[in-house]
């Protein structure tokens, strides 16, 4: 979607966003020539459809960490603007399960053990919807085998333990 300021014949630029509020996000665009502003407000259907496409709306990229996963497709933009979101609160070394929102996740997830930054980064290789279950499985493996932290070596050991090439 593009927005044009008709009097100036100039493309309007995304300035900031408000929400999500009741499933709606307001995107404020401004004309670089005349400074006029307009807001595009999504209804929950529109918010959800954009989120279902798996694209992020907003200037700049969202950090590709597990904690950035959120039910709001506008997360990246809101995070850049310092709008607090539930999923943004996770500490660097807390369990990734804490900040997760995956709908099917959370069931029986253990209390959580620390993850190294490298191990956390690898979680981007797991589809978001099943990330919570994956985290739970890995933490169970780590605890069962006496590790007190999940690092890349533990992930490799889990791979050979489960016979995954």
């Amino acid at each position: 979607m593009k927005f044009l300021c008709v009097p100036c014949d100039e493309q309007m630029k995304l300035k900031h966003a408000l929400g999500p509020d009741g499933g709606s996000v307001a995107l404020v665009y401004a004309c670089p020539a005349c400074s006029a502003e307009m807001a595009m407000m999504t209804n929950p259907h529109e918010t959800q459809v954009v989120g279902s496409l798996g694209v992020k709306i907003g200037p700049g990229e969202a950090p590709e960490t597990a904690a950035a996963a959120s039910k709001c497709p506008f997360t990246g933009m809101l995070a850049d603007m310092g709008v607090p979101l539930a999923a943004q609160g996770a500490d660097r070394d807390a369990s990734p399960a804490d900040g997760e929102s995956g709908a099917n996740g959370g069931n029986g997830a253990p209390a959580g053990i620390p993850w190294t930054a490298e191990a956390r980064e690898r979680l981007a290789n797991i589809p978001d919807i099943v990330r919570t279950s994956a985290v739970a499985g890995i933490e169970k493996f780590a605890l069962d085998h006496g590790y007190d932290e999940v690092d890349a070596a533990v992930l490799e050991r889990a791979r050979s333990f489960f016979g995954i090439a």
Binding site: M1, L14, H45, K56, N125, A158, I164, A165
Partner: protein, 287 residues
């Protein structure tokens, strides 16, 4: 006044760029796969999932490296068929590690993560209106799976499709023009009529349909070691499929029992023979 194409970019989000990036990621992840073959039908319950697993095993017997992607996100069966109901998903340094059976067959199925007592649920801010966005979200998950799994070097990736003629078409478009199709039918007009619709839908795509497998083609009786008719005749007045028949696989209760138990191996007999025949035909088609 400027038009849409006069304006470069989209005002900040670069949605198009993100979509292209996702496509590149998928192409990169699948670069080591020689052949993608989707097993569809349009009709449910005709044996798509069972034959996908059996075809992968038969191709394995013929020395080919295979993996299965379970695209039936809402009714995933491949985890049970492979005995991988508890396979952990592990992130590697080049993608998600491909879960494997003890025999080395790669199987990616949501059934490995969701117990059969749970359904696949997505977060939504549009509660009660899932018909509006659900299919879009499912294809996004399917494409995530394609692009995130570390498939490695494969001769065949077999994709087990959900029912629905329109879905079959959508998967052709999601997989891209290089993916080929095998359709599964049974000798009943009710099934073949639906499979004919899927064939018609696929006819509008550049994707090649290699042929069909007629499943439940007679009943194998272990007591008299013979194949008896299961359905009364052929498919009555249903339209011809106009496709080559790759194999006719009889119904064998031992196959159903083994499938339920996640046991791969079948005793020698007409079913095993037909499956090897199907694999041979498939190899001939893609050669």
């Amino acid at each position: 006044m400027k038009t849409y194409s006069d304006i470069a970019g989209d005002g900040g989000s670069d949605v198009l760029g993100q979509v292209l990036q996702q496509r590149e990621r998928i192409a990169e992840a699948m670069a080591g796969i020689d052949h993608v073959v989707a097993i569809g039908s349009g009709k449910g319950g005709v044996g798509k999932s069972t034959l996908t697993m059996q075809l992968a095993l038969a191709l394995g017997r013929a020395g080919r490296r295979c993996a299965i992607l379970d695209a039936d996100l809402n009714g995933p069966c491949q985890a049970r068929l492979a005995g991988l109901e508890r396979a952990p998903l592990l992130p590697g340094d080049r993608g998600m590690a491909l879960p494997r059976t003890p025999d080395g067959l790669g199987v990616v199925s949501l059934g490995s993560l969701l117990p059969e007592s749970e359904h696949l649920a997505f977060d939504s801010v549009a509660t009660g209106d899932s018909h509006v966005w659900r299919a879009t979200r499912e294809f996004n998950l399917f494409q995530q799976l394609l692009g995130l799994v570390d498939w490695g070097r494969l001769d065949f990736l077999l994709v087990d499709l959900p029912p629905g003629a329109e879905r079959t078409l959508q998967y052709a478009e999601a997989l891209g023009p290089a993916a080929r199709f095998v359709l599964v039918t049974i000798p009943a007009a009710l099934a073949r009529g639906v499979v004919a619709r899927s064939a018609a839908a696929l006819g509008t795509t550049p994707n090649e349909v290699l042929g069909y497998i007629e499943n439940m083609s007679g009943y194998y009786c272990g007591t008299c070691d013979g194949v008896r008719p299961l359905f009364d005749g052929a498919a009555g007045d249903a339209p011809e499929l106009g496709l080559p028949c790759l194999a006719r696989v009889p119904f064998d209760p031992r196959l159903a029992t083994a499938s339920d138990a996640g046991e791969a191996d079948l005793p020698p007999g007409p079913v095993l023979h037909a499956l090897d025949e199907a694999a041979e035909q498939l190899l001939r088609c893609v050669a």
